[in-house]
């Protein structure tokens, strides 16, 4: 019997031990999150559902590669990220580039302090309105940081880039979002 209090990591360890129902609980927990994540990238609900299903299939097949001493959330989001990026490359005229030039150099990491809650809340409302006007790379980093609330290190693991690159992308994405708001004269909901 799996309680609501069991962590994702405990459930993942049970799945690794062969408890199939534990995987069902993980699917319940992450389905809505991944569908929401997918909506930031792809327009068609059918495509998003197909990809999310593939993400869960892939995560079950590879569950024994998951290290239960680490967090489960960035692990499954990494699988989802790769799946959505591949889908974007197929569907979009302007996909995420094959070569990430912002991973070439080392950047100083300036992580946004967690106590800047007001800015965090403001950004969430800005992002919801302006996301569709941003490039996929900017959308992704803003969603992971402000909406899914991953710290820099876990975002780095999800995107498989250096931590400095996360900071640089976030800064550029914020600037891009501000430009979108200025250009489109959008009003943020605060």
């Amino acid at each position: 019997m799996h309680t609501e209090d069991e962590t994702d990591e405990v459930l993942a360890a049970r799945v690794q031990a062969g408890e199939q129902d534990a995987f069902g609980v993980l699917v319940e927990r992450y389905e809505k999150k991944l569908l929401r994540y997918g909506r930031k990238f792809l327009p068609r609900q059918e495509d998003i559902e197909d990809i999310v299903q593939d993400v869960f299939i892939s995560s079950y097949q590879n569950i024994k590669s998951f290290d239960a001493s680490r967090r489960f959330s960035p692990w499954i989001y990494q699988i989802a990220h790769n799946a959505f990026v591949n889908a974007l490359r197929k569907h979009s005229r302007n996909p995420l580039t094959m070569v990430d030039f912002d991973t070439f150099m080392s950047y100083h990491v300036e992580e946004t302090p967690k106590d800047m809650e007001r800015e965090h809340a403001e950004m969430r409302s800005l992002i919801e309105k302006g996301l569709e006007h941003l490039s996929p790379k900017s959308r992704e980093i803003l969603v992971l940081f402000y909406l899914e609330e991953f710290p820099y290190q876990e975002i780095a693991d999800i995107l498989q880039v250096p931590m400095g690159t996360v900071g640089v992308r976030l800064k550029r994405a914020r600037e891009q979002l501000r430009q979108v708001y200025n250009t489109l004269n959008l009003e943020p909901e605060l």
Binding site: Q20, D21, E28, I57, I63, S65, M105, P162
Partner: protein, 259 residues
């Protein structure tokens, strides 16, 4: 039906029906091992190629061209094995790409990773050529026709490039006032007259039996040289194959190089 139940039910039914399986830990271990092996092999081949590049420059004495002014430098660039270098760089880039599969790989900037791999492979190649008898033994085996397809590769590396015949590793047979007569060390056929650059005091610099590296313009049986450097007689290194070590200075302590 709730869309949430659809995905969950689909996945669970596939699991229960045995259509969806977990990969075993051995699968992941094998995958990592295979990837590590491919990276290792790519790097080993890259090291061997860099090693061969250094060997080629050393054994053909093309490095001497760098002391022959701009013209010598340009010829050096022309004769450099760029194809081998390109293959090497592709191998290093491929290794870097595969290393990104691992956490230590993607946590480092691309420049750092590629730079590190290049330093590793270049230095390793240099050490193998300069500090081990590996290439000398390979050259010896090539001369004995024991290397199969590599025979031509190693023997070809030994000879100076054509440059229209204007490059020569020559043994002096006569010393004149502004020229010397020599025979090609690698071909040893017709004597070649080497017209030395102006101001070259032949009698105090060269003597019969000296081996010189010459770069110039070939015209029949003569070379109008723009660069000449004397080297000491060959010595026997580890492995038995002869190697060449160019002399920076002659016996009287002056530099032989002329442009």
């Amino acid at each position: 039906m709730n869309q949430n139940d659809n995905i969950k039910d689909t996945i669970l039914s596939q699991i229960r029906e045995g259509k969806l399986h977990m990969h075993s830990p051995a699968y992941f271990a094998l995958r990592v091992a295979l990837l590590a092996l491919i990276v290792f092999l790519a790097l080993v081949v890259s090291v061997l190629i860099f090693n061969f590049i250094f060997f080629t420059i050393r054994i053909s004495e093309e490095g001497q061209l760098l002391g022959f002014g701009v013209r010598g430098f340009l010829i050096f660039l022309e004769m450099f094995p760029w194809t081998l270098l390109a293959i090497d760089i592709v191998l290093v880039l491929a290794a870097e790409r595969m290393l990104r599969y691992f956490r230590f790989g993607y946590r480092n900037p691309v420049v750092v990773l590629i730079g590190g791999l290049l330093v590793l492979t270049v230095l390793s190649g240099l050490v193998i050529d300069r500090a081990t008898p590996f290439n000398d033994r390979m050259l010896q085996h090539a001369r004995e026709r024991n290397l199969g397809p590599l025979n031509g590769l190693y023997e070809g590396a030994h000879r100076p490039g054509p440059l229209g015949g204007g490059l020569c590793r020559c043994v002096i047979t006569e010393v004149g006032t502004s020229s010397v007569v020599a025979y090609d060390e690698d071909a040893s056929s017709t004597p070649i007259t080497i017209i030395l650059p102006p101001g070259f005091a032949t009698s105090s610099v060269f003597k019969v039996g000296d081996i010189i590296y010459v770069a110039g313009d070939r015209d029949g049986d003569s070379i109008d040289a723009f660069g000449v450097r004397r080297r000491p007689p060959q010595h026997e290194p580890r492995g038995g194959a002869s190697v060449t070590r160019p002399a920076e200075l002659n016996e009287s302590g002056t530099d032989d190089t002329m442009e």
